[in-house]
């Protein structure tokens, strides 16, 4: 599962041109320069990477921290088994 979290952080860094080292779990997306529009692109890349589908209720666009993103994706990947 830490593997999933690391890959999600790689995608955040890649898609948003964010500093990978700054993406700690408690880092706020806003503070590392990731906007809600960036997250649309991130969710697309995550869906492609993990072969999952992120529904309306799985992760809201007003999510605040990096840790909340990775936790949501870990849940979805686990559920997809």
């Amino acid at each position: 599962m830490t593997d999933v979290a690391d890959r999600v952080k790689d995608i955040l860094a890649e898609e948003c041109e964010a500093d990978r080292a700054a993406l700690s779990d408690d880092a706020r997306l806003e503070d590392v320069g990731i906007s809600s529009v960036d997250m649309v692109q991130v969710m697309f890349a995550i869906e492609e990477e993990f072969g999952i589908s992120i529904g309306e209720n799985d992760m809201s666009l007003d999510i605040e921290t990096v840790g909340e993103v990775t936790a949501a994706i870990q849940r979805l990947v686990a559920a997809a088994g």
Partner: protein, 398 residues
């Protein structure tokens, strides 16, 4: 009415990613035409195209903005960066941004269809919608440079650039804005797009030979051309380099046919451009023709030029640079305006390449195959679109 200076130029074409490669390439008779790089080219009969080569969109926009920009918008932003850097100055809210396109985000649409219908995928790229919008270029350019005046896209197929530049010209002339970023962009060389052109039977199997008796059609191109227009007094006051004066603009509709050109419609647009510039036929030294190389366009355009210029037509030099940079559709007029400005500045008229044999129906001096040295004081650039919408620009040396 105010006069309008052209103080900035930008171009991305099959001849290269800058203005110099377009002006020098067309002067030297270089061809940007090659076999398409698209997969499954062997399934196309229209497989020779003038594509922009080795394009790196991320270098122009950065990765984040690239996500929001179709290929045609990437070309437009790159050309606008060149034009604004060349001019050296724009003015936020007193500046307009008007950029035309014939098709819009063709690559984005085709990629989405491929995913959904061919690959059975359940999702398309999340920015497919903002990418495919025809107003991608004016929107992205306004953000790039903080332009807060009027912004919009114009679509009139092959006349989109000239209509956009002509609209901007009018707005500056009337004092509605002081500066405008104007031009056109196109990137519609996709597999399905080429199949559409193929079915219309207007594409040459190998090369484009405008005005030549054995011409067999056009060669599709892509790219973007952008010019920076400015109130002449403002340009002079700030000591800007003025490439040329945009002196006149004429437009007309054929009200006749979706694909067949009309002599009368073309002639009206040319005559109006001259009248708008306050110029007589004998003032014009060079016409950058629409010159698509189709059987129908070239004799019709020739007759239209003869109709407007009368006896002065025999002194004119007329060439089509489309044989070199391809038919850029919505980008065509702006790319050709840049080439025409190059001719006005250097006194070297670009040739019509691939010319083999005179056609009795095309009886003007088309500068066959080799550039001609001639100092000219003024020039005209023609665009006549499918759908019968015509737009003609006239420029003057300063």
């Amino acid at each position: 009415m105010r006069r309008v200076a052209i103080t900035g130029l930008g171009a991305v074409s099959s001849l290269g990613h800058d203005v110099q490669s377009l002006i020098e390439g067309t002067r030297e008779g270089r061809s940007g035409v090659a076999l398409t790089t698209l997969p499954n080219a062997e399934l196309l009969s229209a497989r020779y195209v003038a594509e922009v080569k080795n394009w790196d969109g991320a270098a122009t926009l950065g990765k984040k903005k690239l996500n929001l920009a179709d290929r045609f918008s990437q070309f437009a932003v790159a050309a606008a960066q060149q034009a604004v850097a060349d001019a050296g100055d724009i003015s936020g809210e007193r500046t307009a941004v008007i950029v035309g396109t014939g098709v819009g985000g063709a690559t984005t649409i085709e990629e989405a269809y491929d995913r959904v219908w061919r690959d059975g995928q359940q999702r398309v790229h999340p920015f497919s919608i903002p990418r495919l919008m025809a107003n991608g270029p004016p929107s992205l350019i306004s953000m790039e440079f903080g332009i807060t005046g009027p912004g919009f896209a114009i679509s009139s197929a092959c006349s989109s650039s000239n209509h956009s530049i002509g609209m901007a010209f009018g707005m500056i002339r009337r004092g509605e804005v002081d500066v405008a970023v104007a031009g056109g962009a196109e990137a519609s060389i996709t597999f399905a797009g080429l199949k559409g052109w193929e079915a219309l039977r207007v594409i040459a199997p190998d090369v484009c030979r405008p005005f030549s008796r054995d011409r067999r059609g056009m060669i599709l191109g892509d790219g973007a051309g952008i010019v920076l227009l400015e109130d002449m007094d403002r340009a002079r006051a700030r000591g800007a380099t003025i490439h040329a004066e945009l002196a006149g603009f004429g437009m007309s509709s054929d009200a006749m046919d979706m694909v067949q050109p009309s002599m009368a419609g073309a002639a009206r647009a040319i005559a109006q451009a001259l009248a708008s510039a306050g110029m007589n036929p004998e003032d014009i030294g060079y016409i950058n023709a629409h010159g698509t190389g189709t059987p129908a366009n070239d004799p019709t355009e020739t007759k239209a030029i003869r109709h407007v210029f009368g006896a002065a037509a025999d002194k004119l030099l007329v060439s089509s640079t489309k044989a070199m940079h391809g038919h850029g559709l919505g980008a065509a007029g702006a790319l050709e305006l840049v080439a025409t400005i190059g001719a006005l500045q250097s006194g070297i008229i670009p040739p019509t390449i691939n010319f083999t044999e005179a056609d009795p129906e095309c009886d003007l001096d088309y500068v066959p195959n080799v550039a001609r040295e001639r100092r000219i004081a003024a020039a005209v650039s023609n665009s006549f679109a499918f759908g019968g919408l015509n737009a003609v620009l006239a420029i003057r040396a300063v």
